[in-house]
């Protein structure tokens, strides 16, 4: 709590105590020496009134002076003055005291959630150590680092600016930026982003960017500005607040004058009995009008709805998901269709040997080794995949050989030979490339064919019928004999399948994949991930068309939408699609400014499971915002109606104002205080 807040609180406490003493004394009459006439209590009640409310009364006059009358201060001043005039001194003071209590709580709550958000976003590096050419080290503010400076990052410190590691190895913690709790290994030549916490090793990092252009600054700016892109719910509140207060104020004015005037005229022409007029004197109507004024402040909504969204954005940031505006959080909660790119989002984007299928009587190792020999020295991607698969195979099997029992049984030369083998795969004496079909190599006197069925058939080797599938298929033959086949495919990310099924549970009706890859590949990935539809062989422009086609299916006649569409891409070359979708989500964006610029939502790492989390946060945020809107409006209208007919007094109105505000704020803070509950 700030000093100012504490001062306010103490003042308020004192006035509450004074007020309660006065109330008890007046109602029970335990101090007989005080006169019975209540008017004597007026000056006494004015003490706690001004103690708590002087600032409000002052602000009210300031508002009038500056010709901006319709603010809370005016409403409270008029309401309480009205209550004093109606002779309800205790209630006048109560309204002021409780109003101020509500304000105090509001400042406290907002301050607290602001602090929680700042803690969530606690990624700002405090200092940087610059190593000068003469070997001296200056410790400066990260602001002062210039591009090209050599920085020392000590163990446990934050990386001050984006840079590249020149010396040292370490494990860095990126959790605050990506939500990923497993530390990342860095070594010389590796890029490193600001805000990561260095682990055990000492690093020398060359600054690639100034602080203000570094990832940390970008992220902070983005989150700070997110609360400025308002959701529909917030816009509704802003508009509502603008008309609600004047309407209530004018109704109050009407309530103060019209019934009294009508009843008075009624007695004159004999429609209303004088007894009825006496039972409802003008003062009663004045009191009811003041009750109106007390509930006329829309503070509960004005503060709690943006606070809910603020909390949602904060909670998402903690999960490594940057949401660029409350409006996107709202759209995310109403998604019906998720369209995803394939490579880099659903799949890892690195092709690799997936399957080794030897023909009868051939071992997997023989097949792979034969293919690797033929491809040795090749620069063709397929060749490289096969070679790297073979290398991995050798490493795995030499690891297996190194297990304790094996060491005892196996003799040394055996291990040596296996190690030597992996390094000294024979090179082909001759290689002939058949473009688009494969290659024919002569290795150690044997003729090896690696390629499509077409190649083998041309060479007179009969091969089994090949089904059309997702993978690139490489058939292998040696000296006229078919050995089997090797399947090469893009690997599906482990998290993708679960993420897709979670999204469906969350009510996403259609999960679509668009890709430039061949249709069979696309379909196979679609089957594996249980996608609703896949479209392959698309050029970037066609992806935009496809998205527009789906968008139009979501649009009923006119502009009315019955669901929203999100596009997930890697942010590198799908900027047009990202901007066309209702919500453009860029993945794996850590350190990529372009992606951060283009997308509406940025997922810092490349884990697809952040998407269901994001949808959950969006839904929860909307739920809380809606609860607050409905609750606050219901209570306020109830109090308005009841007080107009005289069933609710000013105490109820105080609850309708301050009580509702406090409850709504507490509700809104659930998201920030308890982010794990999502």
């Amino acid at each position: 709590m700030s000093e100012k807040l504490i001062r306010e609180r103490n003042k308020l406490l004192l006035s509450v105590i004074l007020f309660l003493i006065l109330l008890i004394v007046e109602k029970t009459g335990i101090l007989p020496f005080l006169p019975e006439h209540s008017l004597w209590y007026l000056p006494l009640y004015l003490i706690p009134y001004f103690l708590s409310g002087l600032s409000v009364v002052k602000e009210c006059f300031l508002g009038i002076k500056n010709r901006r009358p319709f603010d809370e201060a005016l409403l409270m001043t008029v309401a309480t003055l009205g209550a004093f005039l109606s002779g309800e001194f205790a209630e006048a003071v109560a309204v002021m005291v409780f109003y101020q209590m509500g304000e105090l709580f509001q400042s406290y709550a907002v301050g607290k959630s602001r602090k929680s958000i700042k803690e969530l976003m606690d990624i700002v590096p405090e200092l940087a150590h610059i190593e000068r050419e003469d070997g001296t080290v200056d410790t400066v503010d990260p602001d002062e680092v210039e591009v090209g400076d050599m920085l020392l990052v000590k163990p446990g410190e934050r990386v001050p600016v984006d840079g590249i590691v020149r010396q040292g190895e370490s494990m860095v913690n990126t959790a605050a930026l990506t939500g990923e709790s497993v530390p990342r290994e860095v070594f010389p030549g590796e890029k490193i982003i600001s805000g990561c916490i260095n682990g055990e090793g000492m690093l020398r990092v060359e600054a690639l960017k100034a602080f203000e252009d570094s990832t940390v600054s970008k992220i902070l700016e983005l989150v700070e500005e997110a609360s400025e892109k308002k959701s529909k719910a917030e816009n509704f509140i802003t508009k509502f607040a603008r008309i609600y207060t004047p309407i209530v104020v004018y109704s109050a004015l009407a309530l103060a004058i019209l019934p009294s005037l009508g009843l008075f005229l009624g007695t004159k022409i004999g429609l209303v009995s004088p007894e009825f007029f006496a039972a409802h004197p003008p003062l009663t109507w004045l009191y009811r009008a003041c009750t109106f004024l007390v509930v006329s402040c829309p503070c509960a909504l004005v503060i709690s709805v943006p606070l809910s969204f603020f909390g949602g954005i904060g909670a998402a940031s903690r999960e490594g998901v940057l949401v660029k505006g409350s409006n996107y959080l709202e759209l995310v909660s109403k998604l019906k269709v998720v369209v995803s790119d394939k490579t880099g989002t659903l799949t890892k984007g690195n092709f690799a040997v997936q399957e080794i299928e030897p023909w009868e009587g051939i071992s997997k190792e023989d097949l792979l080794r034969t293919a690797a020999m033929a491809e040795n020295g090749s620069t063709h991607p397929i060749g490289l995949f096969i070679l790297s698969a073979y290398k991995k195979w050798m490493e795995d099997s030499s690891k297996a050989n190194a297990s304790p029992e094996d060491v005892v049984v196996e003799s040394d030369p055996m291990k040596h030979s296996s190690g030597k083998e992996s390094n000294s795969l024979p090179f082909p004496e001759n290689t002939e490339n058949r473009s688009g079909a494969g290659l024919i190599s002569i290795v150690e006197g044997c003729k090896i064919l690696v390629g499509k069925a077409k190649l083998l058939e041309e060479e007179g080797i009969s091969v089994p019928q090949q089904e059309k599938g997702a993978a690139t298929i490489c058939l292998v033959a040696k000296d006229g004999q078919y050995l089997g086949r090797i399947l090469i495919a893009d690997e599906v990310k482990e998290s993708s399948k679960e993420a897709v099924s979670k999204m469906k549970q969350q009510g996403i009706e259609n999960v679509v994949m668009l890709t430039g890859d061949s249709t069979p590949v696309a379909e196979a990935v679609g089957r594996e991930l249980n996608l609703d539809s896949v479209y392959g062989e698309l050029l970037p422009a066609q992806k935009v068309e496809k998205v527009e086609e789906i968008l139009s299916s979501l649009t009923e006649e006119g502009e009315k939408r019955n669901g929203y569409l999100a596009f997930i891409g890697d942010g590198i070359n799908d900027a047009p699609v990202l901007s066309r979708a209702d919500v453009g989500i860029a993945m794996g964006a850590m350190g990529s400014d372009a992606a951060i610029e283009a997308a509406d939502v940025v997922i810092m790492d490349d884990d697809l499971s952040r998407i269901p989390t994001l949808i959950a946060i969006g839904k929860k945020t909307m739920r809380i915002a809606m609860q607050n809107i409905v609750f606050a409006l219901t209570v306020k209208f109830l109090v308005l109606i009841l007080s107009a007919v005289g069933l609710a007094n000013m105490w109820a109105a105080v609850f309708g104002d301050v009580g509702v505000t406090v409850i709504c704020i507490i509700n809104a803070m659930r998201l920030i205080q308890n982010p794990k509950s999502i």
């Binding site: 500056n66 509001q106 907002v110 500005e225 609360s227």
Partner: protein, 72 residues
């Protein structure tokens, strides 16, 4: 010229009102008063920036006396 300041602003409603009022000062190109983050961003003509900034603070204070911009 665009500059960002830390500021002190106590209520969300006042922040909106102050932002609106400052936006009407001649020479102001854009203004943002972020209640949640307590940040005040002012973009105004380069050669009159200081003057406009002072005027913005003055107007802000007439709406909410507690409005303050840090580091000015």
């Amino acid at each position: 010229m665009k500059k960002k300041f830390e500021c002190e602003i106590d209520c969300a409603n006042c922040a909106a009102k102050i932002q609106e009022a400052i936006g009407k000062i001649p020479g102001v190109q854009s203004v943002k008063l972020n209640f949640m983050m307590q940040k005040f961003t002012l973009e105004a003509e380069d050669d009159r920036f200081e003057e406009i900034l002072q005027e913005a603070i003055r107007i802000g204070k007439t709406i909410e006396p507690d409005f303050a911009v840090k580091g000015v």
